[in-house]
């Protein structure tokens, strides 16, 4: 365990930034968001950023390849480059878990090299939650907000910040900062964890019957009549999917540039009407089917393919951001609650 006085945190951040690209959540005009560290930036204490941390590995838009087209001839240009090493500082437990969920998609064979490259170059410094929002429910997915995963876990206790390396990458980062860090006793952190856990137990979203979503009940949940009511006010926008740390659907598109074609991928949303639209048909005709797809994927389809792990981390962003306040908690309560 290592520690540093909070007043020295700016020094620590500059020391990291001197060696690697450093990203951290910073309070902005409309809430906290991750940004590349510049001298003077201070770590936001907000428990949740507007955009999730998935952007670091699965950005909204990224180039995949370029093509030079000349008459009938085509030439492919591999535009990939080796990513720089970077550190994400202050990632909350829910977002750290989302990386595991994305890994199971992008690192499954055949590996997505764009994602893999970023993942390999990243060091994640997580931060325990001391002030969760009432819309937080990560504990419902067995995520311990007081003891986050990551390469290095961090805790703020009083006017000190404690660090514990959890991986080789994490050890390397901490040892590179050795001059600034003092040895810390684990007792204050253990005490703080107990305190933070107690806060977690007070959060209002508790009766959450996610266990009722079992892969073997796939068709029963799919055919539940409650989807009609749950989806009736859905606007069909993509807010929930874009702020969600685990939504990873994408589109691949071409963009004509002056001297050729750029193929890029961008986030896409199963909530959009053209997501499954083919030249002649669309198997999901109405918003009910699109809405159902999103939640069935998180609660039934994803666990069925991934050892029962749910595709939600309880970060609460969809609760805070949906224009009509429809979200996974309401879905779980309505549909999962029936068999209680």
């Amino acid at each position: 365990m290592k520690k540093i006085q909070l007043s020295l945190l700016p020094k620590l951040l500059s020391a990291i930034a001197a060696k690697k690209a450093l990203y951290l959540p910073v309070d902005g005009k409309a809430g906290a968001d991750y940004k590349r560290y510049e001298e003077g930036d201070t770590l936001s204490r907000a428990c949740r950023t507007n955009r999730s941390a998935k952007d670091f590995f699965f950005p909204q838009v990224e180039d995949m390849a370029a093509f030079r087209v000349e008459g009938k001839k085509i030439e492919i240009i591999d535009t990939r480059k080796e990513n720089e090493d970077f550190v994400i500082f202050g990632v909350r437990a829910c977002d750290v878990r989302s990386f595991d969920i994305l890994d199971r998609v992008f690192l499954a064979d055949p590996v997505d090299t764009f994602y893999e490259n970023r993942r390999q170059h990243a060091t994640v410094v997580s931060l325990a939650c001391d002030a969760p929002e009432e819309t937080c429910f990560c504990r419902q997915f067995d995520i311990l907000a007081e003891d986050p995963a990551g390469d290095v876990a961090a805790w703020i206790v009083g006017d000190e910040m404690y660090f514990k390396a959890k991986t080789e990458k994490g050890k390397k980062l901490l040892s590179s900062l050795d001059v600034l860090l003092a040895d810390g006793d684990s007792a204050p952190v253990e005490k703080e964890k107990k305190h933070l856990e107690a806060i977690q137990h007070k959060l209002p979203i508790s009766e959450f019957n996610k266990e009722h979503f079992k892969p073997e009940d796939l068709m029963e949940h799919f055919n539940d009549p409650a989807w009609a009511e749950l989806s009736e006010a859905c606007l069909g926008c993509g807010t929930c999917t874009f702020v969600c740390p685990t939504c990873q659907c994408f589109d691949i598109r071409d963009f004509k540039t002056n001297d050729g074609v750029l193929r890029y991928r961008c986030w896409d949303s199963c909530m959009y009407s053209d997501f499954t639209k083919m030249a002649a048909e669309n198997p999901r005709h109405t918003q009910l089917e699109r809405f159902r797809q999103r939640f069935m994927h998180k609660l039934v389809y994803y666990p069925a393919n991934n050892d029962g792990i749910y595709g939600c981390v309880g970060c609460g962003r969809c609760l805070a951001k949906c224009p009509i306040s429809m979200n996974i908690v309401k879905v779980v309560k309505k549909i999962g609650g029936k068999k209680a």
Binding site: A30, E134, Y272, K330
Partner: protein, 321 residues
């Protein structure tokens, strides 16, 4: 008010005058409100308070395609969207029973969070004051301190095309001049203004919430979703493209935007999108005389008619300054 609305809705449903009622339902939290179509069995769950923020009129486009008559509760701002949609023949008036309800201004949970008011569990609304019950105790505030930007400019007057009024009309003086920020932007140099919008719009994630909530955006196929349009896109290929989406949208709703403010309310990135629309409203007012979209069913919109003495916009606002 909530009780009055429930009672009236129940009456309308049981008398057979309407088949469904469009209103708001609460979720886990008092601010977790969703538009909902009620029937007799769940009408006692209809709520109305400071967090019933969503406008309902756009839902009529889909709801009137179904059989039966639907009652809808219209707050003042929503009543203008209602008329504008009607004017554009977007829904079947015969299938709607419109009830005007007063509004004391809405409060957004995200704004409160930014003020440090968290863990909200309940609300007691007053005319001047609001009490927010939270996990950490009650917080009492002047309404004028906490109501949403879109509500600060409201006069509380309905567009007069509803079937009945429930409660009294609560006219009030606006708390702010709605063109104040637009004027500030106009006074900026082109570079400053560009920097302002660059900063705001660069946060856009193209989730389409602003478009999908907008009562003026009712195209069956939006040009940005239409592969055949040639400009279809889901994500910006450049920062210019991002502005493109918002600028085209603002142009498309110009003269039809009722300034309901829902676009800014729903933006997950907190972009003040209403400022684009207000700039158009301000320019239309100064070029063609005061006009309010949705105020009158018959009147032709200034951008839809031509008079020989119409000004050339370039003469009024200057060219490319």
């Amino acid at each position: 008010m909530q009780k009055m609305m429930q009672d009236r809705a129940r009456e309308l449903l049981s008398s057979g005058k309407v088949d469904r009622v469009l209103g708001w339902i609460e979720g886990d939290f008092v601010y977790d409100v969703t538009p909902h179509v009620f029937r007799e069995n769940d009408i006692d769950q209809l709520i109305y308070h400071s967090f019933a923020s969503q406008n309902l009129s756009k839902y009529l486009v889909g709801e009137t395609k179904k059989d039966g008559v639907i009652a809808v509760f219209l707050r003042p701002c929503d009543s203008y969207s209602f008329v504008q949609l009607l004017k554009e023949h977007r829904f079947d008036r015969e299938k709607v029973y419109a009830i005007a309800i007063p509004c004391l201004g809405k409060v957004d949970a995200e704004d409160l969070r930014a003020m440090g008011i968290r863990g909200i569990t309940g609300v007691t609304d007053g005319k001047e004051r609001i009490i927010l019950h939270t996990l950490y105790g009650d917080v009492e505030k002047e309404k004028s301190e906490v109501i949403a930007e879109r509500c600060r400019k409201c006069r509380g007057v309905h567009a007069p095309y509803f079937d009945e009024r429930l409660g009294e009309e609560l006219t009030k003086e606006p708390l702010t001049d709605r063109f104040e920020m637009v004027e500030k932007l106009e006074k900026m140099t082109a570079e400053e203004r560009f920097a302002f919008w660059q900063d705001e719009l660069s946060r856009c994630i193209r989730c389409n919430a602003c478009r999908n909530v907008c009562p003026a955006c009712t195209c069956e196929k939006c040009v940005f979703d239409n592969a055949a349009s040639g400009i279809e896109n889901k994500a910006p290929a450049s920062s210019f493209e991002e502005q493109n989406f918002h600028i085209i949208r603002a142009f498309h709703v110009a003269g039809r935007c009722t300034d309901c403010g829902q676009c800014s309310r729903v933006c997950p990135q907190g972009i003040p999108l209403h400022l684009l629309n207000r700039k158009f409203i301000k320019d239309i007012n100064s070029c063609y005389g005061e006009y309010r979209a949705g105020a009158d069913l018959e009147e032709k919109a200034p951008l839809n008619r031509f008079d020989v003495d119409d000004c050339e916009p370039g003469d009024v606002v200057g060219k490319g300054e």
